[in-house]
Every structure is written in structure tokens, then in C-alpha cells.
Symmetry: C2
Subunit: 316 residues, 2 copies
């Protein structure tokens, strides 16, 4: 069973860990958001690609969800001595990834080739694709002005009120090699419980990806990142509220209704089932909070099982 | 008393430490070899500039003479995981220097501006100038073929027999801003006890520097890096032997006779004084082995005192 997954970073990585355990080697292709990428100190940093790769490699810092377990910060502190910004936490081991990638890019390699080199070096079996080899940069329009994504997210801790979100470069960005093929060939497409606005949004903004997903609508399952009206990870809830969207699994379903056939919602949100079904989406209800590795594999297995239901499930 | 010093890395740094203590702030300008520079992982690494700066900043690893005291090597080990060469030891704190410099260079700054930024950040009062802002790369012709300098020196531990030394780029490299001015304005010029072939040689190969030094010959003092027929640091002795040069303070004096008025030799070499004087150079004999900080300041003070002797001292 070939699976394609759309993913951001921390919000997606628990489910991806489960999917990587629940699918045979080579059957999982992950399309990762690169709108969060940032150039810092001359290095190209791809937070979501790295979070996904480190997670699947088993080296991620489990307490933060990003960075490498046990990493040190000697270089970052020394960069500060040179008057450089240190609000973006670059660990010493993590830095090797950015140096490796940046050197490859300078030598004319693509971001896809970098991602492939890194996941192979770290022993990850799932295929990890950037959404595009061309730069897309998410920018957040806030009450304090336009902020590059990481400035909004890390430096300002997602505090300023969001008025609009831009995906700079997306309108002219082609999908990376293999992205549309993976979506077309998949037996099932999973949209991870990532932030719909700034993790999945940029992927869907790349030329052709939204249409490719929409064409597979009956085979697309999303796991709601909002449970009981709050986001389990990150500022999805706060950003949705800033933009006047309903902060609930129903609000999530509304954003995806054109391209997703089925949504998995948490038991806490079971009361929303009928309202969501009225949008023309199938609904599956289960426990979606992943605390242990068993939780992750269980939800992944449950997600994969939904694809077998599609013929009878979707009312659309 | 304004002093200009020509310097390589480890061999020079002990004396430079002494000179920095023995001269008033702002009176010492150090012109540093950049022929040893290397591009690695896309980063521009300037070993001699960094050794000199770290030494004067008091952060150098005293046991090796290079790198930063207490530095860690997490990033280097991770770079190895990506299949990258790890024979060149890049510490995590040290890496911050290379990242900072490389980013400045990519933004159009000169190597001089990088050196200035780094020494100021680390609180070094002496002025530290690269010999040139243009790339010069020392290459060693050996029995095993042509090797970039760091490959010969670090990767192959200076083992292959040297047949010739090239300073690639030197013939078209202009001195960095301030280099010729510092040489012209100095009350005394010190050639540090560095390797004459691959530390001082590249500096003298930059357009106009050899002539500028020669024009000040009576005010130029060199400290012999060869004591008792061996080099105190590095492969000077082995390289001189490979090239058929006499491995002694006399051999050193012969290399410098056209541009240096006085050589300081160790007491162990006192017997060579007459032979050196016959070359037309003044000779000063003292203890030149620096083990303690007191040794460094003492030899530096002794060196500065030689400039006052020039009128009566030089037989040339």
C-alpha cells in the first residue's frame, strides 16, 4: 500500500513516526513544507525537512520535537560573540546538516538532492521530498507589520496578531521531482495533523499540488490538528482565531472540504461529526492524541485502515 | 614605537603574544599568511589568521597552539556522518568563526574586514591584517604529486618529500589595505620565528611586499625558527632538508639576507654567528625557546631592543 503524506514539522512528526512503522519500507513518501525555510549566517535551514528526517532517524530531541537529541550549542554561543542573532537555536550537530546542505546547494545540487543525501546518511527509509526545489518563503502579515515566518514563529513566539499569510514564491514554484507522481500513484494520501495555515498551506500553494490532491479527494484523509478547540502543538488555534476561522475540527474540515474526503477527529470532538458530514466529508472518530510510540503506531494504523473504507464511507 | 610583524600561525604566535604585551595598544600591526587558507564544506578557513587572533585573545588551545581552548567537535563528527572529510579538525566554537567569515565574504566584505570584525569581537588590540584580500593558495609539489597545502600539512602530516613550493595566485595578489603602509611606517619590522618557506614565503610573494621589506632592511629583525638544527614547531627543518637547504640558523639567514638586517639566533647556535655576519647580517644571540609567558615577553622585549642598535649593529 503506497502512501503519500503531506507534512509540516513537529505537528506531523509523531504521526509520521507511526506511519513509517506501519508501512513497508519504500512505500511511504513524505512531501514536506519548505515555507518555513530560512537563511541564517549564510546557511540554508529547512526546519520541517530536518524535523521529519531527525524524527524518522530516531535522533530527534523528543522533549522539543526539533533539533537533535543531546545536541550542544557551542557554535551558536560563539556566533553570538560575533554579534550575530542567536534566537534561532542551532545545535552543533544540527549545524552539520545546514553546512552540508548549503555546500551542496552552492555546488548546484537541488534541495531534493540535499534531502535525499541527508535522509540516506541518517538511515531513513521513507522517501522525504521538499514540496519544491524552488524557494518559497512564508511571510506573516501581523498587526506589527510583515514578518518572515521564523521571525514571527520563533523570535516573536507567534505573539503578534495575524492578519494575512503569504507564501512568497509559491505562485511560480514547481513541485519537486516526484511530488505529483507520489500523489498520483498513492493508494492513500495522508494530510498530517500539521498547522493547516502555515504547514500544509504552503504545500498546497505550490503549482499543481492542490489540484493533484483534489483529483484524489476520495483517497485523502486528514487528521485534525485541533482537538477540543485547541491545537495540540504550535499556534494553529491562535492563528485560526486571528483570521476569524472557527477554532475546532469543524473549522479544520471547512478549510479542507474541497480536497479531502475524510477527516479523523478526536473522541473529544465526536459531537462535531454531523456538522462535518454536512460539508460532504466522511468522519472517523478515534483517540488522536499521541503520547507514546504505541499511540503513534496505533493512530497511523487506524489512518491507513480508513483508506479501505472509502467506497462506502464518503457521502460526497 | 610602531611595530609591524610578519607571521604564520603556531610558530609565530608565542612571540606575537609577547609583542602584544611589550608594545603599547595600537602600535602593533601583524601581517598574516593566508596561503594556508582552505575552503572546506563551503566555508573559508584561515588557519593562520585564526591562530594569531585566538592567541592574542587568550582563547587558543595552548596544548595544540591552534583551535579554541575547551572546544568540542560535535559538528565535525556529524559532518563525517554525511560522508564529509573530517581530517581537518573544526571545533564547534571555531566553526562559528568560519561561518561568520564565510557569510561576510558572501555578502561582499573583504578578508581584511572579516579579520577586523573577528579580532574586535574577541577583544584583540593589535591590528591583524591578512597579507592580501585576494586568494593565495600554497601548493606543495611532492614526490606524490601536487598537494594543496592543508592536504600536505594536515592530511599527510607533512610526510611526502617536498620538491617545490608554489604560491598560487600570489603573482596577481595585491597586499591588503594597510600592509605596505604598516611596513613603511614601522619603527621596526619583526619577522616571526615562522616557517620561512610556507609561512613567510607566501607573504613575501604578494606583489610589492618583498620590495617593501627590502627597502626597510636595516630595520628588519628575524628570529630564527631553527634552533640547534631543528625547528621548534612544524616541519621547517624537514622541508628545508627536502629542498637541499642547510637546516640551521645559517640556512635561515641565507634565505633572508637580501631583506633582513639582523637575525636573532639561539645561544645553542652561537657558533654560527661569524658565518652569518659574513653574509652581511647583524646577529644577536639570546635564548629563543619560549616555554612560559615570561619567556615570550622577554624575547619580545629583547627583539624590540634590537631596533635601537641598528645604527651601530649592521655591518651591511
Amino acid at each position: 500500500m503506497r502512501i503519500a503524506a503531506l507534512a509540516g514539522g513537529v505537528g506531523a512528526s509523531k504521526l509520521l513516526f507511526g506511519l513509517s512503522r506501519a508501512t513497508p519500507p519504500g512505500e511511504l513518501t513524505i512531501v514536506v513544507n519548505t515555507g518555513d525555510d530560512i537563511e541564517m549566517h549564510g546557511l540554508t535551514i529547512c526546519p520541517d525537512l530536518d524535523i521529519v528526517t531527525y524524527t524518522l532517524a530516531g535522533v530527534v530531541n523528543a522533549s522539543t520535537g526539533w533539533g537533535i537529541d543531546g545536541d550542544t550549542f557551542a557554535a551558536r554561543d560563539s556566533l553570538g560573540r560575533y554579534g550575530r542573532e542567536t534566537w534561532f537555536n542551532l545545535g552543533d550537530r544540527d549545524l552539520a546538516t545546514h553546512i552540508h546542505r548549503t555546500d551542496m546547494l552552492h555546488r548546484g545540487k537541488t534541495l531534493s538532492e540535499c534531502a535525499e543525501s541527508i535522509r540516506r546518511a541518517l538511515g531513513v527509509e521513507a522517501k522525504i521530498l521538499p514540496m519544491s526545489d524552488e524557494p518559497v518563503r512564508t511571510q506573516i502579515e501581523t498587526e506589527n507589520g510583515l514578518l518572515p515566518f521564523q521571525h514571527y514563529f520563533v523570535k516573536h513566539r507567534a505573539a503578534p496578531r495575524v492578519t494575512k499569510i503569504h507564501f512568497h514564491g509559491a505562485a511560480s514554484a514547481e513541485p519537486a521531482p516526484g511530488v505529483l507522481e507520489a500523489i498520483a500513484a498513492a493508494d492513500g494520501i495522508v494530510i498530517c495533523p500539521s498547522n493547516p495555515l502555515i504547514s500544509i498551506g504552503p504545500i498546497l500553494a505550490v503549482i499543481g499540488i492542490r489540484d493533484a490532491i483534489a483529483a484524489r479527494r476520495a483517497d485523502v484523509v486528514v487528521i485534525s490538528p485541533i482537538v477540543g478547540g485547541v491545537s495540540l502543538k504550535g499556534p494553529s488555534d491562535k492563528m485560526m482565531a486571528d483570521l476569524g476561522l472557527e477554532v475546532s475540527a469543524l473549522g479544520v474540515a471547512r478549510m479542507y472540504r474541497d480536497i479531502v474526503g475524510r477527516i479523523i477527529i478526536d473522541r473529544a470532538d465526536a459531537a462535531l461529526q454531523t456538522s462535518i458530514e454536512e460539508l460532504g466529508m466522511a468522519v472517523s472518530v478515534t483517540g488522536t492524541v499521541m503520547r507514546t510510540d504505541e499511540d503513534k503506531v496505533r493512530l497511523a494504523t487506524y489512518t491507513l485502515a480508513q483508506f479501505k473504507k472509502k467506497a462506502s464511507g464518503a457521502p460526497a
